[in-house]
C-alpha cells in the first residue's frame, strides 16, 4: 500500500476537520468549565488570605476532629468492605444457588438509591423513634447522631465498589486454576492466597481505591445520620458545609482543598492501576 492510498483510507474514515475540532473544543471546554475551574477556585479561595490563614484554618480543633473522624471512618469501612466485596464476588462467581441473580442486583442497590434516603433508612431503624430506638436507648447505645451511625451509613454506601470490580474479572477467569490448585493438594486458604489473590490483585486494589475515595468524600447519607455535632460527628465534607454556612470561607475551602487533593491522588493511583491491569 503506498502513501497516497493510506492517506485516502485515513481521510475516508475521518470526519471533516471542522467537526473534529468543534467536538474536541466542546469536550475541553466542558472539562475546563466544570472540573478545572471549580478546582482552581477551591485552591485560590483557600489561599485567599495567605499561607498562614490556610494553616490556621486547618489547625482549628474542629477541622482536626473532622479530619480524624473521616480517617477513622475510612479505616473501618474500607477493610470491612474489601472483605465483604471479595466474599460477595466469590459467592456470585463460584457457586450456583437460588436467588443469585437477585443478590447480584442487590449489590448495586447503594448506587441506585439516593444517599439521603440511605441515611434516612438508618435513622428509621436505629433512631430514637425507630424500630430498635427504644431498646437501644434502654441499653444506652447511641448509633444515630454518633460515630457508629456514620460508619454504618458509609459502609452501606461504599459496599458495591470492590464487588463490582471483581465480579466481571472472576467470571471471565473461570475456576479452572483454582480447581487445579485443589487437585494438587492445596487447601482453601492456600488456593485463595497463592492462586486467586495474585490473579485479582490489581482489580481488587482498584476497587479498594474507589471505595476509599467515596468513604472519605460521602456527604448525603452521613449528613442525615451525623447530626452535625462539632468536633464529635462532623466528617470533613460536613465540616466544609458548616464552615461555609458560617461565612468562614478560608476554613471551608481549606478543608475542601484536602478533599480535592485526595481526589487527585486517587485519580493518579487509578491511572497507574489501570495501566498495570492493561499490562497483565
Amino acid at each position: 500500500m503506498n502513501a497516497a492510498t493510506q492517506t485516502l483510507i485515513k481521510n475516508s474514515l475521518q470526519e471533516p476537520v471542522w467537526i473534529r475540532w468543534s467536538l474536541i473544543a466542546i469536550a475541553l471546554g466542558f472539562i475546563l468549565m466544570f472540573l478545572c475551574l471549580p478546582l482552581w477556585i477551591v485552591i485560590t479561595e483557600a489561599f485567599a488570605k495567605g499561607w498562614a490563614a490556610y494553616i490556621t484554618a486547618l489547625g482549628q480543633p474542629d477541622a482536626v476532629a473532622a479530619l480524624r473522624l473521616t480517617l477513622l471512618t475510612a479505616l473501618i469501612t474500607v477493610p470491612l468492605n474489601t472483605i465483604l466485596g471479595v466474599c460477595a464476588a466469590w459467592a456470585i462467581t463460584r457457586f450456583e444457588f437460588t436467588g443469585k441473580s437477585l443478590l447480584t442486583t442487590l449489590i448495586d442497590l447503594p448506587f441506585s438509591v439516593s444517599p439521603v434516603i440511605s441515611g434516612l433508612i438508618f435513622v428509621l431503624v436505629f433512631g430514637a423513634q425507630g424500630w430498635f430506638g427504644h431498646w437501644l436507648s434502654e441499653h444506652d447505645i447511641k448509633i444515630i447522631f454518633a460515630v457508629p451511625g456514620i460508619v454504618l451509613a458509609t459502609l452501606f454506601i461504599t459496599f458495591p465498589f470492590v464487588a463490582r470490580e471483581l465480579i466481571p474479572l472472576m467470571q471471565e477467569m473461570g475456576s479452572e486454576e483454582e480447581e487445579a490448585a485443589l487437585s494438587l493438594g492445596a487447601n482453601g486458604w492456600q488456593m485463595f492466597v497463592q492462586i486467586t489473590l495474585p490473579n485479582i490483585k490489581w482489580a481488587l486494589l482498584y476497587g479498594v481505591l474507589l471505595c476509599n475515595a467515596r468513604a472519605m468524600g460521602e456527604f448525603g447519607a452521613v449528613s442525615v445520620v451525623s447530626g452535625h455535632i462539632r468536633s464529635m460527628t462532623n466528617t470533613l465534607p460536613l465540616h466544609v458545609e458548616v464552615s461555609y454556612n458560617e461565612y468562614d470561607f478560608v476554613g471551608a475551602f481549606a478543608s475542601a482543598s484536602i478533599l480535592a487533593g485526595l481526589a487527585i491522588v486517587t485519580l493518579v493511583l487509578k491511572s497507574v492501576l489501570e495501566w498495570r491491569q492493561g499490562k497483565h
Binding site: 487437585s183 493438594g185 492445596a186
Partner: protein, 347 residues
Amino acid sequence: MSIILTNISKNFGKFAALNHINLEIPEGELVALLGPSGCGKTTLLRIIAGLEQADSGRVVLNGEDKTEQHVSHRGIGFVFQHYALFRHMTVFDNIAFGLRVKPKKHRPGEADITQKVHALLELVQLDWLHDRFPDQLSGGQRQRIALARALAVEPDVLLLDEPFGALDASVRKDLRQWLRNLHHELNVTSIFVTHDQEEAMEVASQVVVLNHGRIEQQGAPSDIYDHPANAFVSRFIGQTNVFSGDDQDTIWLQSSGLPINDKPGKTAHVRPHDIDVEKASDEASAHAVLKDWQHLGALIRIELVKNAADADNATVYAEMPNEQFKRLQLNRGDKVSLRIRNAHWFH
C-alpha cells in the same frame, strides 16, 4: 491403583447427565472415556476427581471408598482441557506448586523440590523452558507442563480432560504417541476423556463408550471395533454402512454374497473394508454402480450406488488398498460386482 464406580448418577436440574454408571478399571490401564459431546464423560471424570459430587453412587479408589473425600485428598492428578496453568507463576513454580503446598511434615526441602521439578521437566523434555511464563508457551508445551505439574504429587490416578482437544492436528498426533509411551514408562492408572474415536482407539488400552449418560460398551479397542455391542457403538466407532434390513435390502445383501440365515436383526451394519469390489463380468453379476472415489492415503474410499430396479439410492461405501484399486482400473459409472464378507446385525 484400581478404580471402581458403583451406581453413579448425576442430574443437572432436570437433565440426567449420568445414569447409574457402573465401571471397573484395573490397575495400570490407560482408559479412554469416549462419547459424543454432552454424553456425560467429563462429568464422570470430574466425579472421579472429586471436583463434582455425584447425586448417588460410590467412588472406590484402590479398595478405599473416597466418595466423601475432598479433591485435595484423593491422590489424583488432573489435567484440564485448557491446561489451567497458573498464569502468574513460571513453569518451574507451576510444577513445584503441588510439593510446596504439602503440610509441613510431608513437605520436601527446597533442594529436593528443585531436583524433582527438573527431573519432571526432563521427563516431558522441556527443561529449557523452566523460567518461562505460561503465556510464552505453545499449546503442546503447555499441555506437557500441565502433565508434569499433575505428576509432581505422584498421583495414584491420572485424569485427563480432552488432553488433545485444543491442539493443532500435527501436534496432536505427536502427543498421542508420546502420552502412550509415557504411560508405558510410569504405569500409573490413567483415564482420559475424548470425543475423537480415532484418538481413543490409538492411545487407550481400554475404551469405555458413553452415550446419554450410560455406558454402551467397555473393552479393548479391537474388541469394540470388531464386536460392537449395539448400533450406536458400531456407528460411532469407525465407518459403517447401515442397511435397513427390509426385504429389498436383505435380497440385495444376499445377492452380494452375504450369507443370511434366519435374519438375526432389524438392521445390518457393514464395515467398508468388508466389501470386496470387482468389475462386473456381465449384467447379472452387477450389484452396484461406481459413483466416485476419494484418496485416503493408503486406502481408497469408493462410493457405490445399489444397482437394483427398486432400490433406494443411498450411497454404500467400500474401502480397498490403493494398489489394488489401480489394478482394477475402474472408472466412474462402471458396473461392479460385490462380495460382502461380514455384517453386524442389531435390533
